[in-house]
């Protein structure tokens, strides 16, 4: 009997409160997916972040590789050349700036090699 009552109450409560409210349009209207809402460069940035690229505009300081001639630090650029600022050692008080051109790996005064690699713009 108790379970029957519970069924009746639950069933009616569900119908009258939840369903009818939704039918009458009382349920909250939700907004679309924010990624679908975005456009242009903003969307490209969001998509890049989603795909695991946390630096889509190459704004962060590059992690240095071995820096030998065979294993240079790779510098991405959408252009034919990019200025590199070499922090020659961790205690360096000045940055060594050098132009790096496509197809011409370059060696900093400290001996570290850099190479320009092509990157398609976002």
């Amino acid at each position: 009997m108790a379970s029957l009552c519970r069924q009746i109450i639950r069933g009616n409560a569900f119908k009258s409160v939840i369903l009818s409210n939704a039918r009458r349009g009382f349920a909250d209207k939700m907004m679309p997916d924010p990624l679908e809402h975005a456009t242009g460069l903003e969307k490209k940035e969001l998509l890049a972040l989603q795909s695991g690229d946390d630096d889509p505009f190459n704004m962060k300081v590059l992690k240095k590789k071995a820096g030998t001639k065979d294993m240079p630090t790779l510098v991405p650029s959408c252009f034919d050349a990019r200025i590199v600022g070499c922090i020659c050692d961790e205690h360096a008080t000045a940055i060594n700036w050098l132009w790096l051109h496509k197809g011409h790996p370059r060696r900093c005064e400290c001996g570290h090699w850099y190479k320009l690699i092509e990157k398609t713009p976002l």
Binding site: M30, M31, D33, P34, A38, F79, P121
Partner: protein, 262 residues
């Protein structure tokens, strides 16, 4: 060399609004001087029209750039945030100068005003009547704007509009009550230093409430036009920051000018 870019900065297009804005404000100030001297408002009204049209179209362009052209990357948004923070800080110092004038005059009242505060024969407002109601209204509006913000962050369209709508209504209610109190005031801005500091501080606060209400109203209209998403709504956040600032200024006004100065 490609001519494509790979940077997150927003290089703005050429825009006529800085020029029309300069012309508008020049006309506005010249028109105000003309009004003061000749009692003729024509140039002032022209100045208002040019300035208001500039404001409308400049901000409309910013909405378009952010919402429909996707120009507001994270870095651009960060710049907008800093801009709003610095703007509000400058406003804090603006109000600080009014409070300075108030405390300068009230903490050691001159012989000319009877060496007392409120000055001799000034009847101030009872702080536990309309001003207390106004305090409650503004604190409540702070709650409802937070409700709208959380609804927005949870993707809830309906509750964002409801929260914003109630906040705007409370803002309008506050302005109406302040206007009513100004009409009923037993002293004027020319009644001693009391009237001067009182109407300067509360008047500028009232102006800020009206600006904040308009800012929130624009947010509601933009929300109704689906300009916002759960992670792209800085216009709303800036309006909410501004509203909280106006709210906090009122608390200081209430405590020092209305209550302590009663």
């Amino acid at each position: 060399m490609t001519n494509m870019n790979n940077h997150p900065y927003h290089l703005v297009d050429y825009s006529p609004w800085p020029l029309t804005g300069a012309i508008g404000t020049l006309t506005l100030v010249t028109g105000m001087v003309k009004w003061f001297h000749n009692f003729n408002m024509n140039l002032l009204i022209l100045g208002y029209m040019i300035t208001l049209l500039t404001m409308f179209q400049w901000w409309r362009d910013i909405c378009r750039e952010g919402t429909f052209q996707g120009k507001h990357t994270m870095l651009v948004s960060k710049g907008l945030r800093w801009g709003m923070i610095l703007f509000i800080i400058s406003e804090v110092f603006f109000f600080l100068s009014f409070f300075w004038a108030f405390f300068h005059s009230s903490l050691s009242p001159n012989i000319e005003i009877g060496s007392m505060w409120p000055p001799m024969s000034i009847t101030p407002f009872n702080p536990f009547q309309i001003p207390l109601l106004n305090t409650i209204i503004l604190i409540t509006s702070g709650v409802t704007v937070t409700w709208a913000h959380h609804a927005l962050m949870e993707n809830n369209f309906s509750q964002t509009s409801q929260g914003l709508f109630i906040t705007i209504m409370l803002g309008i209610y506050f302005s109406i009550l302040q206007a009513y109190e100004y009409l009923e005031a037993p002293f004027t801005i020319s009644d001693s230093i009391y009237g001067s500091t009182f109407f300067m501080a509360t008047g500028f606060h009232g102006l800020h409430v009206i600006i904040g209400t308009l800012f929130l109203l624009i947010c509601l209209i933009r929300h109704m036009n689906n300009h916002f998403s759960m992670n792209h709504h800085f216009g709303f956040e800036a309006a909410a920051w501004y509203w909280h600032f106006v709210d906090v200024v009122w608390l200081f006004l209430y405590i020092s000018i209305y209550w302590w100065g009663y």
